[in-house]
């Protein structure tokens, strides 16, 4: 297993030189590795090549400047070591699918695309021996029913827990059998997702003979191809897998914006121990692969 401390040291070096001319050779030298060995270890540990990490961090810091300051775009470009405004615009567009001037004008960006400095906990997760290889799945169309609520940036996990507790109580009170059904969580993002807000839907699939509780809304999930990632039973696994998908995996396969919704699947095993107050733990995360902005999830009551 690679030496996490040395990788963190290299990350600190990169972070403290984002606005300076540094090379991958400099990064390697900061931890007394050869360029070859450093590239190999860094890429394996962080899921970014050293140069890719440097450029992504520079572009994310530049994006923050565009949204939060009045600094001229050309000055931001030069500050983050882009040789010309055109080079900066091209790299920015490639990463965010938006021009810098659009972000400056609208002061917003899909927050999921903003990659912060890699933290030790995330690095430990990436190097814990888990496989982050997704499975391609074609999921059949589903009728689902549950409770949807907006989630804001203040303690989102707690808000989601409360929704699940409510779903549990309603299912029990309505006489539906809690066991032997699919439970899923749906995160639906606004087209202009600049404030970390989204709608969270917690619910289950219905069989034909069943009636949903009155408080539940119904949705039709279309049949689509998904990339599904198994979640290990580790704290913050879902959050770390999301980070990996947003910043490492998705950019590899497309320049298209991130999908406007994601599905968390909870296994039947969780349901067998169903207690209304219990919050189920997701078993897998699935991301739609159609690369279209799917914002037409059928809402029915």
């Amino acid at each position: 297993m690679p030496n996490i401390d040395l990788i963190l040291k290299a990350i600190e070096f990169i972070e403290s030189h984002l606005t300076e001319d540094i090379s991958v050779a400099d990064m390697a030298e900061s931890v007394s590795f050869s360029l070859f060995h450093f590239s190999r270890i860094f890429s394996r540990s962080t899921r970014h090549t050293p140069y890719d990490y440097l450029m992504r961090r520079r572009l994310c810091e530049a994006a923050q400047c565009l949204m939060k300051s009045e600094e001229k775009i050309i000055d931001i470009a030069y500050r983050y070591k882009f040789k010309a405004p055109e080079t900066f615009s091209r790299a920015f567009k490639r990463m965010f699918n938006l021009q810098p001037r659009q972000v400056r004008l609208e002061r917003r960006l899909d927050q999921r695309q903003l990659m912060g400095k890699l933290v030790p906990e995330y690095l430990e997760f990436l190097n814990s021996g888990i496989s982050l290889k997704p499975e391609a799945k074609n999921l059949r169309p589903m009728q689902i029913t549950g409770i949807a609520a907006p989630i804001n940036a203040n303690n989102p996990n707690l808000q989601i827990e409360e929704i699940w507790k409510l779903v549990g109580k309603e299912i029990q009170a309505s006489g539906l059998k809690p066991a032997d059904r699919d439970y899923l969580g749906l995160r639906m993002f606004f087209t202009s997702n600049s404030t970390n807000q989204y709608i969270y839907f917690a619910g289950t699939s219905l069989v034909e003979s069943e009636r949903a509780p009155h408080s539940f809304v119904q949705k039709s999930l279309p049949g689509l191809d998904y990339a599904c990632f198994e979640l290990p039973e580790k704290p913050s696994a879902a959050s770390f897998v999301r980070k990996y998908v947003y910043h490492s995996w998705w950019p590899k396969i497309t320049n298209a914006p991130l999908a406007t919704f994601e599905i968390e699947f909870y296994s039947n095993r969780t349901a067998h121990k169903f207690e209304p107050q219990a919050v189920p733990v997701p078993q897998s995360l699935c991301f739609p692969l159609s690369f279209i902005s799917f914002n037409n999830l059928g809402n029915e009551r």
Partner: protein, 172 residues
């Protein structure tokens, strides 16, 4: 580390090449790196339709992995990886193949065993051995020489490879 110092004439190699950061896994459905994929492509090609290639090979079962550093390598970390075998002459090669002609030069030849193969041997050679031994790098490449002593990446503990580093004496 005590290498052998030898002098080689030009070596003509034929094989496949990759330029970029080989540790950037482009395939989102795989965790294999580009060097592994390059070897797989070479072996698959030779297995399927490499008869012409096999006829030109000087020594069967001997392969080279050449790492070539280009001017931007230290900045971006991108470099060229070539895998192939030595041929007698550049006859009619399959169009998928490229030629790599290594110049005549002196080499320091290091024998790596077991886990040394996965170690940071470039650092040990270039930053530690070379300055102490009074040599400098003659060309911006090195190569790994694989023969019957290499037992596969799954059996590194039993494996041996040679690393050739082109050298010149340090100017006084």
């Amino acid at each position: 580390m005590n290498p052998k110092i030898i002098r080689n004439e030009s070596i003509i190699l034929a094989g496949l090449s990759f330029f970029g950061n080989p540790f950037e896994t482009k395939d989102p459905w795989s965790e294999e790196n580009e060097i592994g994929l390059l070897w797989q492509r070479l072996m698959a090609f030779m297995g399927q339709n490499g008869e012409e290639y096999k006829r030109l090979i000087t020594r069967e079962g001997v392969f080279y992995e050449v790492h070539i550093y280009h001017p931007d390598t230290s900045k971006t970390g991108e470099f060229e990886v070539f895998v192939g075998a030595e041929i007698n002459q550049a006859g009619e090669l399959p169009v998928e193949f490229v030629l790599k002609i290594l110049p005549p030069t002196s080499y320091a030849v290091f024998c790596l065993e077991g886990e040394q193969i996965n170690s940071d041997w470039p650092h040990m050679i270039y930053q530690e051995w070379m300055p102490k031994a009074g040599y400098i790098s003659a060309f911006p490449y090195s190569f790994q020489y694989y023969d019957h002593r290499f037992k596969g990446m799954d059996n590194l503990a039993e494996s041996v490879i040679d690393v050739y580093v082109p050298i010149n004496k340090s100017p006084e």
